[in-house]
């Protein structure tokens, strides 16, 4: 059996944990730069304010009734790790799937699944303070569907168990479900399935395996097999492995000055390098892109250029040198709104060589980067930077409504009032 655990309205729930006054209030969470709504509480959804709506387009009368929060990934990331820790104490195998979802591999356990599900939901609610729902079924694909059913329940705890793929309530559910709702079936596949008369998930799982392989792909045949209760997909089948890294951000206000853009670029290179080293990867190619605001009048400019690195590297200075050369080539006077660094052709880091001349990162550069990461981890990200970082941080994010980093900064701890 597999379980999928999903935190209900995760970002809004994180905001509420330290601000109890938000309980029952419509809460919306905004994207980087406060541009648009990316997460909503149930009360917010009930007001029919759609996902993705630009912040300035929210009706002013509704705007007064809701609370908007800038996204606070520091807080969400910490709470997400806590949820996983609580679960990992109770089940043998946990596979994180996203910031607010994880799969549990329950094979080999003999349990009352309802009781286990209820216990997990209660322990996360109690120990971390976040509401979660859980779906338990014979395969990951079915567990994901079961989780959606659990979320629709009005009773607590939200647990849905399909003991076997033949369970009558599961068969009835699949007969009403469009194939598009199944994990890994996108819009395009759905249209092609409809073309051959496969209109429901039930019909998909009854389609012969050989036909799915011939007309579609092995992966879709496996999906159908998963719907029949045979586990055959691993997470890596459905997730594209991390073959690229992107560090980009919109500016708080447009920037045109080359020096200011170079400062922002250094910042992104630092982050990209840290991500690479964290994953023990190295990149072979680097790209930089720049664009103006497409919604503003004036000439729209989007420029992007790539270059290969002299050898695969995870060295921040190496990345920055290549990126700055690209920026110098791309730059023309214009009011830029966004700048990004992309890394591609990532490969696992090779054993380092000892000289500069055999096409690999020299060991002393690796040691330098290790020291670099250690210093920034210990003394903060401002303690050591690649060249001066712009003091007024004009290119930094707008996050006017960000909550405190309640769990990661001493000077932002929540206050509890003596009564």
């Amino acid at each position: 059996m597999f379980a999928l655990i999903d935190c209900n309205n995760f970002y809004a729930a994180c905001e509420r944990l330290f601000e109890p006054r938000l309980e029952g209030v419509p809460v919306g969470v905004l994207s980087n730069n406060d541009g648009c709504v990316i997460a909503r509480s149930e009360e917010f959804k009930a007001l029919d304010i759609p996902m993705g709506i630009p912040t300035h387009k929210i009706d002013p009368t509704l705007r007064r009734r809701v609370v908007l929060k800038s996204s606070n990934y520091t807080l969400y990331g910490d709470l997400s790790a806590r949820v996983q820790q609580v679960l990992a104490h109770q089940v043998p195998t946990l596979e994180p799937y996203s910031i607010d979802e994880c799969f549990l591999d329950l094979r080999g356990l003999q349990e009352d699944w309802h009781a286990l599900g209820a216990r997990l939901v209660r322990s996360v609610a109690r120990e971390v303070g976040l509401p979660v729902s859980i779906g338990i079924a014979p395969t990951r694909t079915l567990a994901k569907l079961a989780n959606r059913q659990a979320k629709a329940q009005s009773t607590r705890p939200q647990v849905c168990v399909w003991q076997s793929a033949n369970a009558p309530e599961l068969a009835a559910h699949l007969a009403r479900l469009s194939p598009r709702e199944v994990w890994g079936v996108g819009e395009r596949l759905n249209a092609r399935l409809a073309g051959m008369g496969v209109l429901t998930a039930a019909a998909l799982r009854e389609t012969p395996d050989s036909e799915l392989r011939r007309r579609f792909s092995v992966v879709l045949a496996r999906t159908a097999s998963e719907l029949n209760g045979h586990p055959c997909l691993s997470m890596s089948d459905l997730e594209t492995p991390r073959r690229s890294i992107l560090c980009s951000r919109s500016f708080g206000r447009p920037l045109s000055d080359h020096a200011a853009l170079a400062g922002a670029l250094r910042h992104h290179c630092q982050r990209a390098g840290e991500k690479l080293r964290r994953d023990a990867m190295q990149a072979s190619a680097i790209g930089v892109y720049l664009r103006t605001n497409p919604h503003h009048t004036g000439t729209f400019r989007h420029a992007c250029e790539w270059t290969a690195l002299p050898f695969p590297s995870a060295d921040t200075q190496q990345l920055n040198r290549a990126a700055q050369r690209l920026l110098a080539r791309l730059w023309q006077p214009a009011a830029y709104q966004k700048l990004g660094v992309m890394l591609a052709e990532l490969t696992p880091r090779q054993q380092s060589q000892t000289t500069l001349f055999d096409g690999a990162e020299p060991a002393r550069r690796e040691a330098l980067m290790e020291a670099w990461d250690a210093i920034r981890a210990r003394y903060g990200r401002q303690a050591l930077t690649l060249g001066p970082q712009p003091g007024d941080a004009s290119w930094q994010m707008n996050s006017a409504y960000r909550s405190a980093c309640y769990t990661t900064r001493w000077d932002e701890l929540p206050r509890a009032r003596a009564r």
């Binding site: 330290f18 609580v86 971390v128 001493w410 929540p414 003596a418 009564r419």
Partner: protein, 154 residues
């Protein structure tokens, strides 16, 4: 009042490992190295369950009589079950609040210290409960000195 001394290891900040052991001038390891142990880490003592432990700062001096002062650091473990005598963080009137859990006859109450505030009946699985305070950390500044707040970001 009596105090029990606790042996504190030498002032190294990182746990000892074979890579970091200091060597004598001759380059040979010191014979004392065999007896070294990792230094005591106060965090491990105060935080038994990292996933469910949170820190907050106390606001207000109403509990001063009980030794809880404004500005004290509160260590809260949400995994603990509240029992009479515990100090709790609870969400009261939309605000994180600190009160004491008391039993009177068979009923549990959240008891405030501030005069004029009502005692609130407390139920099993009360959803106002946020967590149980397991430790407070109180700084002891000299006269006229501000209590030092931790300045590092980690």
């Amino acid at each position: 009042m009596s105090m029990t001394p606790i042996a504190l290891a030498a002032s190294t900040s990182a746990p000892a490992s074979s890579d970091t052991l200091p060597r004598g001038a001759s380059g040979f390891p010191s014979p004392a190295d065999d007896y070294r142990e990792a230094p005591l880490d106060l965090h491990h003592h105060l935080v038994r369950r990292p996933a469910s432990t949170f820190f907050m700062r106390l606001e207000g001096d109403d509990h001063r009589h009980a030794g809880l002062h404004h500005g004290d650091l509160l260590v809260i473990d949400r995994a603990l079950s509240p029992r009479p005598g515990h100090w709790l963080v609870a969400a009261i009137d939309g605000e994180l609040s600190v009160l004491r859990l008391e039993r009177r006859e068979a009923q549990l109450y959240l008891a405030p210290s501030r005069p004029g505030l009502a005692t609130l009946p407390f139920e099993a699985n009360d959803d106002r409960l946020w967590g149980v305070i397991c430790y407070t950390i109180h700084a002891l500044p000299a006269e006229g000195e501000q209590p030092a707040e931790p300045s590092c970001s980690r």
